[in-house]
Symmetry: C2
Subunit: 361 residues, 2 copies
């Protein structure tokens, strides 16, 4: 409707020969973008939140700014979304920045690092604690501007064929895990493996791998791993609050009228809220079903957590010593984390722990 | 600029005598609203987030939808924002729904009830767990449509002249507290008092009251209560995650074009995120300063928490028994809370507790 009225108005402008209508056209141009997602449609919480984002942007621009989302593999593989946005193959992407850890570990601060921020802390850091400026400064080097676009909350620690009772059980364990966590796991004695999600079930069944990490109950349930690797561990210490991001090619971003930029900025906040809310709403019943169907819930032992933390810290300090970009983010981030955990311990956590204790009664 | 181009286009339309431009005018009318806040400008985190909301809505509508925010008392007192929106005195308000507990305790589910949801759980419930539908059905009876618009996170339990070591210390204690918490406190033997924020310091200094609750470190610091009531308790068990809301008069809402409705909906998500992120970012340093300046931090004892929980549950069950509207929300809400705390105990909390433990080292 909006489009049709614009076209008619435009025709009038041409007839009357005045500049007013072209000015309107300039402010509200028709724009069509492609968004490459790092995820398949089956991860419907993530994919669905981005889909709602594209619909909202269209609504906010009277249907004139259309963004079409493509699933991982449709245009580029899920792990190459950053490259596609950088190259301008697509204008936009939806991806977790730690996928690009191999290019520069600094990417991970935009998503999650081992023993990093919870989702609420990550949001505070990015939105109000200086994180956005630090990360955008880094992303500029890739010709990309980044936006918060969802969080899963603390992920689970994955599925294991056998119980992991002590550090000795970690030695030699073949686990499907990548990036920062893979580097830490390797130093703990495990053998990180790269296997596409679709092949995980078979690899666990055959014993080609001993363990695999994925997301959390709602997404994990679809893979059916409880049958072949029933020991379900918590917490995913490498993903306390992994943030999803929208990437936009900076040149394309700069072409947008101010109103369209505002639409993208605002709608990405909505995506950020709805994705986590959807995970939080769906995870409890999924976990209950998993347990009913044979998943055995365990918590990593204190000794394993302590060793993972010690190694994670060492890996991060080493990276900071040799990588100035990493260090520039890491130092203020570390202070922010310290402050946030102090504050959480005083208020939120005291309350949450009490609520959990009464829920157990 | 947008406005000027519209006016010129409009003039052309009139000259040409076609219907296209009036259709555009109908889609993008100039709208001016007033927003009554329940808060003074000095609560800059809350007030500022709503201000950013009004700016965003203007941006998203090319400056054609202007909302002007007024502080508490400018048009109506802070506690009468609901009435003003209902009556159409203002089109919109920004307020915590538990202020209207006296009209119907059901309002409190839109904000906070004792031992209720944390901010993340409240967001999940409202946005994806059925809360929005339940609350909007209730608000219809007041001619209002409500939106999430911020959260403070778990608040502090307030300032006390003397230590509260046991339930005996609660008996006869005059505390500035209202609504649901006031009703629970009263049954615990305390004497709830209603005192404007500006008079709290003097009342505590003179001993007219023994205690007062406000918000959290960042806002509390401005009142300077540590000097007259140094014992600072946690957690504010009556406010695990109080949500702020935007209220809009339904008749005014229905007059808006779809694009303006979308602008309000989306921008309220942004406000929801930025307010909490700002509190989270500002609270840690404020707490550190408070402690440096004499505040003595305490945690309510398990016996006090248990008694407060027992009475809170009794009060809610009684309300559900006599108030069908309350019961309609309470029953599904109770199940949601149970599920959320189970899930939090498995994943998020396990991680957060570990992060706190390493932060303390």
């Amino acid at each position: 409707m909006q489009r049709r009225s614009f076209l008619t108005t435009s025709a009038i402008g041409a007839t009357a020969g005045v500049i007013a209508t072209p000015a309107f056209a300039q402010i509200n141009p028709e724009v069509k973008w492609r968004l490459a997602s790092s995820f398949p449609k089956s991860l419907d919480t993530i994919f669905g939140a981005a889909e709602a984002f594209t619909k909202r942007v269209a609504q906010l621009t009277g249907g004139r700014f259309q963004i079409r989302q493509f699933a991982a593999g449709d245009i580029v593989p899920g792990l190459q979304v950053m490259d596609a946005v950088q190259a301008g193959t697509v204008e936009m992407g939806h991806t977790p920045s730690y996928y690009y850890f191999g290019k520069d570990p600094t990417f991970a601060f935009d998503c999650a690092v081992p023993f990093g921020l919870t989702s609420r802390q990550q949001t505070a850091w990015f939105d109000q604690g200086g994180g956005r400026d630090l990360m955008r400064d880094f992303f500029k080097g890739y010709g990309i501007i980044n936006f918060m676009a969802g969080n899963t909350g603390t992920q689970m620690g994955g599925w294991y064929r056998k119980e992991i009772k002590s550090l000795a059980d970690v030695k030699g364990m073949k686990i499907r895990i990548a990036g920062f966590a893979g580097r830490v796991m390797e130093r703990m004695g495990a053998v990180p493996q790269q296997i596409p999600a679709g092949d995980v079930y078979a690899a666990l069944e055959k014993g080609t791998i001993d363990a695999a990490e994925w997301v959390g109950p709602y997404d994990d349930e679809k893979l059916g791993l409880a049958k072949v690797a029933p020991h379900y561990y918590t917490p995913g210490w490498w993903e306390a609050g992994p943030q999803l991001s929208f990437y936009i090619n900076i040149k394309e971003w700069e072409k947008l009228p101010a109103q369209y930029k505002a639409a993208v900025e605002t709608a990405s906040y909505e995506c950020h809220v709805t994705m986590q809310a959807a995970y939080d709403t769906r995870n409890p019943s999924a976990l209950a079903r998993l347990i009913k169907n044979g998943a055995k819930l365990h918590t990593f032992s204190r000794a394993i957590m302590d060793e993972a933390y010690k190694i994670s810290t060492a890996v991060m300090e080493e990276e900071a010593a040799r990588n100035a970009k990493f260090k520039k983010v890491y130092e203020p981030w570390k202070r922010f984390r310290q402050d946030q955990n102090m504050w959480a311990s005083v208020s939120e956590q005291t309350m949450q722990n009490y609520l959990i204790s009464i829920g157990r009664k």
